[in-house]
């Protein structure tokens, strides 16, 4: 699975980052590092669900910005 090249995911994450108030350059670095780390952590698994992926990305994003991670984690729990 190659999530580091998932354009839609990266685009959505960039929108979230800008809305949360993270500068564009920093957001790019956060996103790239988080996606790489998430991909690495899921490499050993044979079956990866959408929830696993979401949890792994949230865990990595939390290291950089708590609000950004919270928005990503709760994006489908708002309405």
């Amino acid at each position: 699975m190659d999530i580091t090249n998932n354009k839609t995911l990266i685009k959505n994450l960039k929108i979230d980052a800008k809305a949360v108030g993270i500068p564009a350059g920093a957001a790019e670095i956060f996103i790239t590092k988080s996606l790489k780390a998430a991909e690495k952590s899921l490499k050993s698994r044979k079956i990866i669900t959408e929830k696993d992926l979401e949890r792994a990305i949230t865990k990595e994003l939390k290291k950089y910005n708590a609000d950004f991670a919270y928005v990503y984690e709760n994006r489908d729990k708002i309405i």
Partner: protein, 222 residues
């Protein structure tokens, strides 16, 4: 009015819309689009209120019709159902503030909030979010219409009440917009919504129940 200000669907969609708009566009454009969302919500609120006037007139103001009390009891049943629903079904169980609307509809609203790029899109999204909450708002509009119609002959404040009833639903939207202007983000707003979830449930339930009791007392017993 308390109920109108406590309902969560429109503020939820609006918070998402503000979030996406501020993530995609400049501050000025985002502010412009959010204003059109509010305008859409306001227009539909006014239209619904007019429809409620029509319904109230149709079902309740033929004084000598025997069905009048039947419709009053139907209204009481609806209000009791809504008070129970607001306690048990308004928020779905689990974390976050997932609401009663179908998941497909929630996904649609989210997708539209994400993709809205013009004033007309924002206006339609505001209007659509207002319509989605119809189940909880229409009975209130009908009851208010009945009260206002009763008042209209004697009191001029009924006009003020009508105006207030149309304005009140958009006050939470202006508060969210103001919070975004102050630099708050979706995470802050969502955290406060989650914190107030149970309080909102209780307020909605008690408000619907008190309206039911007043309605029974003044329209059925009296």
């Amino acid at each position: 009015m308390l109920i109108m200000a406590s309902l969560q669907l429109q503020p939820g969609v609006f918070a998402l819309f503000c979030h996406y708009a501020s993530g995609k566009y400049s501050k000025k454009r985002a502010s412009d689009l959010t204003l059109f969302f509010i305008l859409g919500a306001e227009t539909v609120s006014a239209c619904l209120f007019l429809c409620a006037y029509y319904l109230a007139n149709l079902f309740f103001f033929y004084q000598f019709r025997p069905e009048t009390s039947f419709f009053a009891w139907v209204m009481v049943g609806v209000l009791i159902a809504l008070s129970l629903m607001s306690l048990f079904c308004y928020f779905r169980p689990g974390p976050g503030t997932k609401l009663f609307i179908s998941r497909q509809c929630a996904k649609n609203l989210d997708a539209h909030a994400r993709l809205a790029k013009s004033r007309s899109d924002a206006f339609l999204l505001g209007a659509f979010s207002s319509v989605c909450e119809l189940l909880f708002t229409l009975p209130l509009y009908v009851i208010t219409s009945i009260e206002i119609m009763e008042m209209a002959v004697e009191f001029s404040p009924s006009h003020l009440l009508t105006l207030l009833y149309i304005i009140v639903p958009i006050i939470p939207l202006f508060i969210i917009r103001w919070r975004f202007h102050l630099g708050h983000n979706l995470a802050d707003i969502q955290k406060s919504r989650v914190k107030d979830k149970n309080f909102t449930r209780i307020i909605l339930c008690f408000s619907y129940l008190s309206i039911t009791i007043l309605f029974i007392y003044f329209r059925i017993i009296a």
